[in-house]
């Protein structure tokens, strides 16, 4: 049975429609990430599920029970859904421990057990020593961790998290990512995890929903999103994908196609039902490009416009194509050195033909 079932959901604020016909079906115990650019409606979707917003049309069911429809609205406190808020929403008049314990107290848990659970949750987020502080005396990241602990302590069956790691450093993030994975494995709770960090989304989730302008554009397993993006938006959003125009796309069977890219013939992956197209969009990631020797073939000439140091590698922004106007990105292993203006030759190892929606497909 689905833990959360959303059908045809619309939501507007005044004149602006924020969610358009959102449909999602999340299995019980599933870990779903929602990924999308700022302002695309992620938080609004979460608030609809939690019951903070009434919906304009459509329906939301939780565990098979209808909780939201335009004329039925179960109040949030009766949905049994845990939420970590984007702006923390800590209660300023309570100490850290009281913030974490409040939900347990409301649930009527005996004091002893409550204190143990609170202490444990605070330890998980490495805030054991801060139990007596007030939120105002904490750093930004510490506040976020309190919000997290507050939700973890409730051990709800369904947990919604709104960018829970946005303010944390890599280490803590790594640790808490692992903790989420653990918590999920241990408790079997259904998790609905909003993030704008695709690495986080891909690493944690069973499935990822990519949103854009209030619509869900793809809802699929992480590797499918990465390797077979359904639209340009998804392709561009995941793994620093690059979308460029190719010509003469011709399926050659076995999920592959040949195409002509910047005047060179290349071999790409494609959908099984891909048809021949005069032109189309293809996508690839920086890791799919490699630096070649001066005049190796097949390859593209390009010049470097910007090179930034990324620790393990150097990220180079390139301009390629006949008129030097197609932007590409390339990762080069660390000891290398590239300077703006330098001319290089690059090769494409892998790429994907973005399928054309059925209605528009034509040769």
């Amino acid at each position: 049975m689905s833990a959360i079932d959303i059908a045809c959901l619309d939501k507007s604020f005044g004149q602006t429609q924020v969610l358009h016909q959102v449909a999602l079906s999340i299995g019980s115990g599933e870990f779903v990430s929602v990924l999308g650019p700022s302002g695309c409606g992620k938080t609004t979707l979460l608030r609809c599920i939690a019951g903070f917003e009434r919906i304009d049309s459509g329906r939301i069911s939780v565990d098979g029970h209808l909780v939201s429809s335009p004329d039925h609205h179960l109040p949030p406190e009766q949905r049994g859904i845990g939420v970590v808020f984007q702006n923390y929403a800590l209660w300023p008049h309570m100490t850290v421990a009281q913030n974490v314990a409040y939900g347990l107290k409301i649930a009527g848990m005996p004091r002893r057990e409550r204190e143990a659970r609170t202490a444990h949750a605070l330890d998980l987020v490495e805030l054991g020593g801060f139990a007596g502080r007030r939120p105002a005396d904490l750093s930004g990241g510490q506040r976020q961790r309190v919000a997290l602990a507050r939700c973890l302590a409730m051990e709800s069956r369904i947990v919604l998290l709104d960018e829970p790691l946005a303010n944390l450093d890599v280490h803590l993030r790594g640790a808490l990512e692992a903790e989420f994975a653990n918590f999920h494995a241990r408790s079997g709770a259904t998790m609905f995890y909003i993030t704008h960090d695709q690495a986080e989304a891909l690493a944690l989730a069973d499935r990822v929903a990519v949103m854009d302008h209030g619509c869900i554009v793809q809802f699929d397993r992480p590797d499918a999103l990465f390797r077979q993006p359904a639209t340009e938006t998804v392709a561009g959003f995941i793994g620093e994908g690059r979308v460029i125009e190719a010509e003469h796309i011709q399926p050659i069977g076995n999920g592959h196609a040949s195409a002509s890219l910047l005047g060179q013939s290349v071999r790409l992956r494609c959908a099984p039902d891909q048809r021949g197209q005069r032109s189309g969009k293809i996508s690839f990631h920086p890791g799919d490009l490699e630096l070649l020797a001066e005049d190796a073939a097949p390859g593209f000439d390009a010049h470097v416009t910007r090179a930034t140091y990324r620790g393990a590698y150097l990220r180079a922004e390139l301009m390629a194509g006949p008129s030097g106007s197609v932007p590409l990105s390339l990762n080069v292993a660390a000891p290398a050195s590239l300077t703006p203006g330098q001319r290089v030759r690059v090769g494409l190892r892998d790429g994907w033909v973005i399928p054309v929606p059925a209605a528009r497909a034509q040769f």
Partner: protein
């Protein structure tokens, strides 16, 4: 800063010091024995104890009613909230004596209300309102709007996510209110409580009308009695009693301030205010709320209107006796009434215009700078508010009688003394809610503006003032309502050149023109109602939450 010190210094501290001097050192010598004799009399001690418990209980009652009303109007989806809030605030405009008399009549043997229902008292039994309980009851009802205004302002700054977080933790509306909402608006609640306390302790109208027949002496009635007695020491004794009352008041304010400050209430107010659904309770709660209004507004208002529509007080109101003569007289015949009204109006507006910026600035210093100087200023302002109005009047006379050093002429006998007295007396009234407002603003907003190079003044105007808008509006409404028909302060200061409407109504009463006085009262209520309606129309462009009666 210097300006603030000057302002509070001249308007609050100096007249008070002059009064303290009159009280403690009457004839150039400090006479401890006299002070002891005056204060240690059995009657004074009785009155002090009565005063304390009556005003504390009345404050508690007002706080409960006012807070409940604010929660209803600010947090729930009760029907017709705007109209209801109008009705809830309006009784502030009806003089307390009128309210008290209306209640007395409603439950008297000859009651036109209970009589037909067969519920009226049998003649000869003691009226139930003639008791300490009665005083507490009426004071509580009368002061509830003060608390309401203050709490309402706080509620607007409460961000919805804090409530949502509690609800997603499983808390139903009642626990949410108890555990999250109330602690976060406690600044507003206790600011309101402080106002209610001061207003209760110094309310002569109700305490005298119910307390004297009930033989419950209180300090304020004692002070007025002292005021009417003869003898050279009368003024000094009265000043002494007034200081005692002021002392009690300041203690009360200190307690509420302390209670109100505990706990961090700073909230991020860039999100929208919350609203809880009453669900099935909506209809009954709405009914209850309107029932309360009917009692607290309609009762005194009909009494007032009933008197205004007949020629002689006590005439039954029917087709034969009804007349609009009183209204016509008030509006067109008596020039004095019109002049007095206009004077009151501009005095009130001037007081609001001066007090609001001063309070915002003073609040800034008190909330974000601190320091003993600021505390001293605040104490002085509260003392001035705590003193009964009539005492302020005396202090003003004592202080402003001599020609002022720089100007050359005295202000005495002009409207300016009345303005000065208003400024001195009402500073605390505006300061309190505004301090409550500051408690909820995160200082980082001010810091962000500081970085742009904005001067303190610019920041007060552009950042603090708009952020405080709900509190500022509540303050302004409080001052307006209190000052427009103010009596006690100005009654000693009015002259043929400077008349205000409050004393004018009293004089009409004294001269036996009760029905004319009632008509003037009705007109005042109508005027305020019109102003409120106008504010709804012209207030559309104001940010939400600024007008207490608009969402």
């Amino acid at each position: 800063m210097l300006l603030l010190i000057l302002f509070v210094g001249i308007l609050s501290i100096a007249p008070l010091a002059r009064l303290g001097y009159a009280a403690l050192i009457p004839d150039g010598g400090f006479d401890a024995a006299r002070i002891l004799r005056t204060l240690a009399g059995g009657r004074v001690i009785d009155a002090t104890l009565n005063t304390i418990w009556i005003s504390v209980s009345a404050t508690a009652l007002a706080t409960v009613i006012g807070t409940a009303a604010a929660l209803l109007a600010g947090l729930t989806d009760m029907r017709a909230r705007t109209l209801w809030v109008f009705g809830f605030v309006l009784p502030l405009m009806i003089p307390p004596q009128v309210t008290a008399l209306a209640w007395l009549q409603a439950f008297s043997p000859a009651s036109p209300l209970l009589g037909p229902l067969g519920l009226s008292l049998t003649p000869g039994t003691r009226h139930p309102l003639y008791s300490a309980g009665g005083i507490v009851f009426l004071l509580g009802l009368y002061n509830a709007p003060l608390v309401f205004l203050s709490v309402r302002a706080s509620l607007y700054r409460l961000p919805a996510p804090l409530i949502e977080a509690a609800r997603s933790a499983g808390a139903r509306p009642l626990p949410v209110t108890r555990d999250i909402v109330l602690p976060l608006i406690r600044g507003g609640i206790f600011a309101g409580a402080a106002l209610a306390f001061v207003s209760s302790i110094g309310n002569f109208g109700i305490q005298a009308m119910l307390g004297i027949p009930a033989r419950v002496p209180t300090l304020i009635t004692l002070i007025y009695r002292q005021m009417n007695s003869y003898g050279p020491s009368a003024l000094n004794d009265m000043a002494l009693l007034a200081l005692l009352l002021a002392g009690l008041t300041v203690m009360g304010m200190a307690v509420t301030a302390w209670l109100g400050k505990r706990g961090d209430q700073r909230v991020d107010n860039s999100s929208r205010p919350p609203r809880l659904s009453l669900g099935a309770w909506r209809a009954p709660v709405t009914l209850l709320a309107w029932g309360y209004l009917a009692l607290c507004l309609i009762l005194p208002l009909t009494a007032l209107l009933g008197s205004a529509l007949v020629r002689g007080y006590g005439q039954p109101l029917n087709a034969e006796t009804i007349t609009f003569q009183n209204f016509a007289n008030a509006l067109f015949r008596h020039e004095g009434i019109r002049d007095a009204f206009l004077t009151s109006l501009w005095l009130t507006l001037a007081a609001v215009a001066v007090l609001i910026p001063v309070s915002v600035a003073l609040g800034y210093v008190l909330s974000w700078r601190r320091g003993w100087l600021a505390r001293g200023l605040m104490l002085a302002s509260e003392l001035a508010y705590a003193l009964p109005g009539i005492i302020i009047g005396v202090a003003m006379i004592l202080f402003f009688l001599r020609p002022l050093p720089l100007i050359g002429t005295g202000l005495y006998g002009t409207v300016w003394v009345i303005l000065a007295a208003y400024l001195s007396n009402f500073l605390a009234l505006t300061l309190r809610p505004i301090l409550g407002g500051y408690a909820q603003i995160d200082r980082v907003l001010d810091e962000a503006a500081q970085l742009t190079g904005a001067s303190l003044f610019a920041r007060l105007r552009d950042i603090a003032l708009p952020g405080l808008a709900p509190s500022v509006m509540a303050s302004a409404v409080l001052v307006f309502m209190t000052a427009i028909n103010e009596i006690q302060v100005s009654v000693l200061l009015v002259t043929s050149r400077a008349q205000t409407i409050g004393p004018m109504i009293i004089f009409l009463e004294e001269a036996g023109s009760s029905t004319l006085a009632a008509a003037v009262g009705c007109l005042m209520v109508a005027l305020v109602l019109i102003l409120m309606l106008a504010s709804l129309i012209f207030g559309r462009r104001l940010p939400p939450g600024v007008l207490p009666w608009r969402d």
